[in-house]
């Protein structure tokens, strides 16, 4: 049982005109097995929240705390956060030229498990994870995300989610750019990780369609750098019907 606690989180980015505060006091608690959906307008700070939790160097923490089972996440380096059990499926996964997917996955699994996975079972494990996400195993010999289509990049993120077995995963618009079949396949992957590892999920999305597959326990409306309303799954339907007008003007 794990708990990710975000308290009064204020985050800024450096711009030419000095630091600009993007997150303005975020409070959120995610426990193992729970699924939290975050919905909110473009530019409201959702990815900033995701990156800040993962430790992207671009973002400066101004105030507040993030803890995982009481441990101070903000004190950890990026890799330490991952080894503590956090995972971020990125909105824009990064291409790493010259580094093969298989080398990358094995290096990551070795880092996270503390020892190199046994070669024989590992090859089968990777193959299974890729096949279950409908990725041709030939992707293993391609360079990380290089030349992948938008949807292939997203599926590759979920392959990693399954292989790396985090405690808490943040999925930043993993559903964007997926065709209808891929959406179902990716959702099944996330649900498997929930079942097998009692994964806690923070799911950032613009669309309710993924919530048909991955049932949220909580829906949070994010606007102007913080959470402005919380509710159950029905809140998502309301947002889809009415948009964010009510919240943006607040």
């Amino acid at each position: 049982m794990s708990t990710l606690e975000i308290r009064n989180l204020h985050v800024s980015v450096n711009t030419e005109n000095g630091a600009v505060e993007i997150l303005k006091g975020v409070d959120l608690t995610i426990k193992s097995g729970e699924t939290h959906a975050i919905m909110g307008p473009n530019g409201s700070g959702k990815s900033t929240l995701a990156y800040s939790i993962a430790g992207h160097p671009k973002y400066a923490i101004v105030e507040g705390s993030v803890t995982l089972d009481g441990a101070d996440v903000l004190e950890m380096t990026v890799d330490e956060r991952a080894r503590a059990g956090l995972f971020l499926a990125m909105q824009y996964p990064v291409e790493v030229p010259g580094v093969s997917v298989s080398n990358f996955l094995r290096t990551a699994a070795t880092a996270l498990r503390g020892e190199a996975p046994k070669l024989r079972t590992w090859v089968a494990e990777v193959k299974e994870a890729m096949e279950s996400l409908n990725m041709d195993p030939a992707f293993a010999s391609r360079n990380v995300n290089e030349g992948f289509s938008g949807g292939e990049k997203k599926r590759h993120e979920i392959v990693q989610l399954e292989l790396l077995r985090p405690k808490i995963a943040i999925l930043d618009e993993t559903d964007s750019g997926l065709d209808v079949d891929a959406l179902r396949i990716v959702s099944e992957g996330v649900n498997r990780a929930k079942e097998n590892n009692n994964l806690g999920v923070l799911l950032i999305t613009h669309y309710t369609r993924i919530l048909k597959y991955i049932k949220p326990d909580f829906v949070h409306v994010f606007a102007n750098g913080h959470i402005v309303e919380e509710g159950g799954a029905d809140l998502a339907d309301k947002l889809e019907a009415n948009g964010y007008a009510d919240y943006v003007s607040k």
Binding site: T77, M90, P97, G98, N103, F104, T107, Q160, L164
Partner: protein
């Protein structure tokens, strides 16, 4: 032992061809003050297959040179170490040439010829190692339809100086591919140059270099499209780390008026792994005819991509491992072109070692 004759125009450092080179560290190779030994260090490392010979003989130069060091080498001795692969010989295994131990208190002036007869196919690897002061005039002659993969590994010890021209003369439909690897030595200055003498030839000049504190590595390409319908590609990648690590890449490509149908592209990428290192990169494309298939160049010098490191680290990979992956990945595209597993492995390990030693 003899001294070099001095009736040559000694470079001052103001000449275009010498403006980056630290002349003082050339150990007298450029100005004739070097003490010349009679060493002849190039050797064949295993039995040669049939159709191949390696002999020392007197040969006139294949091509002219305006490089002062090459002129001095030619003035010193008419003898050439000649690796000859006869027409229609197709070799599956690479030929490995290596070096006998040299010395740092005197200089060797070396002339080398590699010649392929018509339709011969071969891979030749030259492993340059040890402590040495070495100036080398290496000429490659490719007869019509022949194909050579030419790999040179500059893995010298840290005080060595190597100043060389690797000049390929490419006849009709011949295919030349070179991979120039420079990872060791104090000063390494190589002129990989190519001259097409009949249509239909192609040249691919690839290279990797990794300079750490105090090292100077210069690769000065010259590709002369003097005939129609030849193709050339240049792709060099370098990494630098540490105070006063300095690399120079010059890509001179000349498309003469007669060279219609030329297809050329040259690329140089540098990865700066620390402060205090300097990468000079100068592509230079001269085009005298508009009737070409394509001509282009690109040159970049940058630091670690933070997004790449973040992505890898967000999967639990520690910073130094992430850096190693990124650097290996950066070089991988060229290294795999060597096509010899054992050398690729050794080179990647050397790159890891340099990275570790640099503490980048």
């Amino acid at each position: 032992m003899s001294l070099l004759t001095t009736n040559y125009l000694t470079p001052t450092g103001r000449e275009e061809a010498w403006r980056f080179t630290p002349l003082k560290r050339l150990r007298g190779l450029h100005d004739g003050t070097a003490e010349i030994s009679l060493r002849s260090s190039l050797i064949v490392k295993e039995l040669l297959p049939s159709g191949v010979s390696f002999v020392r003989e007197e040969l006139p130069p294949l091509a002219t040179s305006d490089d002062i060091i090459i002129e001095r080498i030619r003035g010193n001795s008419p003898e050439v170490a000649h690796l000859s692969i006869s027409a229609n010989t197709e070799l599956e295994a690479p030929i490995h040439l290596g070096r006998l131990t040299g010395a740092l208190d005197s200089a060797e002036l070396s002339r080398v010829r590699i010649s392929l007869g018509a339709h011969a196919v071969a891979t030749v690897v030259v492993e340059n190692t040890g402590d040495t002061i070495l100036a080398e005039d290496l000429e490659i002659s490719l007869a019509p339809g022949s194909s050579l993969t030419f790999i040179t590994l500059q893995e010298f010890e840290s005080k060595s100086v190597y100043a060389a021209r690797h000049h390929a003369v490419i006849d009709r439909d011949a295919v030349f591919k070179s991979v120039t690897v420079t990872v060791g030595g104090d000063v390494v200055r190589i002129l990989p140059t190519v001259e097409f003498i009949a249509p239909g030839g192609s040249a691919e000049l690839l290279g990797v270099y990794f300079a750490t504190a105090g090292q100077f590595f210069e690769h000065r390409m010259h590709v002369d499209h003097a005939v129609p319908k030849a193709k050339s590609r240049v792709n060099f990648k370098g990494a630098l780390s540490g105070r006063d690590a300095h690399t120079v890449w010059i890509g001179d490509v000349l498309i003469r008026a007669v060279a219609e149908g030329t297809d050329t592209y040259e690329l140089n990428r540098n990865l700066l792994l620390s402060d205090g290192a300097r990468a000079d990169s100068v592509p230079n494309l001269e085009i005298e005819t508009g009737e070409i298939v394509g001509a282009g160049h690109a040159s970049t010098t940058g630091r670690f991509d933070d997004e790449q490191l973040f992505y890898l680290m967000s999967r639990g990979i520690a910073l130094e491992d992430a850096r190693r992956l990124v650097v290996r990945g950066f070089f991988n595209e060229i290294v795999i072109e060597i096509g010899i597993e054992a050398i690729q492995e050794r080179l990647m390990n050397r790159i890891d070692f340099e990275l570790e030693r640099a503490g980048a």
